[in-house]
Symmetry: C2
Subunit: 176 residues, 2 copies
């Protein structure tokens, strides 16, 4: 993948979103994004659990808190990023896939609960991963998998990993 | 999709897994599974929130508690189901995709925390959705999306829906 992909997780709430936001970050990393910004409540524990995965399993992946998400979106748009907001109210991904893939720099936004109206307006693409309610974690994973043409499904590890997994028909094999 | 797909969510814990298990169920529904069994702690609230989505947004989708997951796996194997266990320790999906897709009846297992060893042994396929730690919600979504060749990404609604979403470039449109 030559694309640069950054994720924005909106409206992190404690303790409610602890695990969901962690899953969002780990999905972002596993499917090739370079980092996550999150807004809402600051959460050092989220940051340290994500950083610890990166430290052990490798890759260049950052997590940063951003209080003012509107400013961040505007700044990244000025830097040449196209903005994709994943929402069940949007246009089905297959209709926009080629157009989205043609952008080399993407900011992908996933919300918690109610997403403010200005996010729909700031987005270049409001994209649905099915027009059904399910999960921002799932929506992000399917989106990243599809725009990378499944590249990360075959990824056997990241650069500088201290630990990696050897694929196995049955059981666990960890390489240190 | 002609395949019949059932999901087994292992080891549901309260309150820790409330939201993650809800996301697992909603992903299963949105991507065409016919139902979810869950083991671990019984949770009426999980069942009623999933049932309420089905009632409003349609489809045939059931949720049932199953205390003895090993018996359920064995019973479904006897009924002709092939068993897929999604785990970061397994074989990358692309290597097994055709083989898995050739099965008309699939039981797909996703765990919480530590998955007992006998699940790896009972499974016909231990499949990795990337060999990286991320999320059972994401793994299930990508798996179901890939085995259905993206069919549900274009699904505009389920049978008997009282509410559906009209895809929109910007904003929300709900049809009642």
């Amino acid at each position: 993948m030559e694309n640069q992909i950054i994720i924005l997780r909106l409206g992190h709430r404690l303790p409610r979103d602890e695990r969901i936001s962690t899953h969002v970050c780990l999905v972002a990393r596993a499917f090739g994004a370079s980092g996550v910004f999150y807004s809402g409540q600051h959460d050092s524990s989220l940051e340290s659990s994500v950083s610890s995965i990166v430290k052990n399993l490798g890759g260049n992946f950052s997590i940063s808190y951003e209080k003012n998400y509107s400013n961040l979106i505007k700044k990244l748009k000025n830097d040449g990023f196209s903005v994709v907001h994943l929402t069940m109210y949007g246009i089905p991904l297959p209709e926009k896939l080629d157009k989205v893939k043609s952008n080399k720099k993407l900011l992908v936004i996933v919300g918690a609960e109610q997403v403010p109206k200005n996010v729909y307006e700031l987005a270049d693409f409001n994209i649905a991963i099915t027009n059904q309610p399910h999960s921002e974690v799932a929506a992000l994973a399917v989106f990243l998998d599809r725009i990378s043409d499944g590249y990360y499904l075959n990824n056997i590890g990241f650069k500088d990993a201290k630990i990696s997994i050897k694929p196995n028909e049955m059981g666990k094999q960890i390489i240190r």
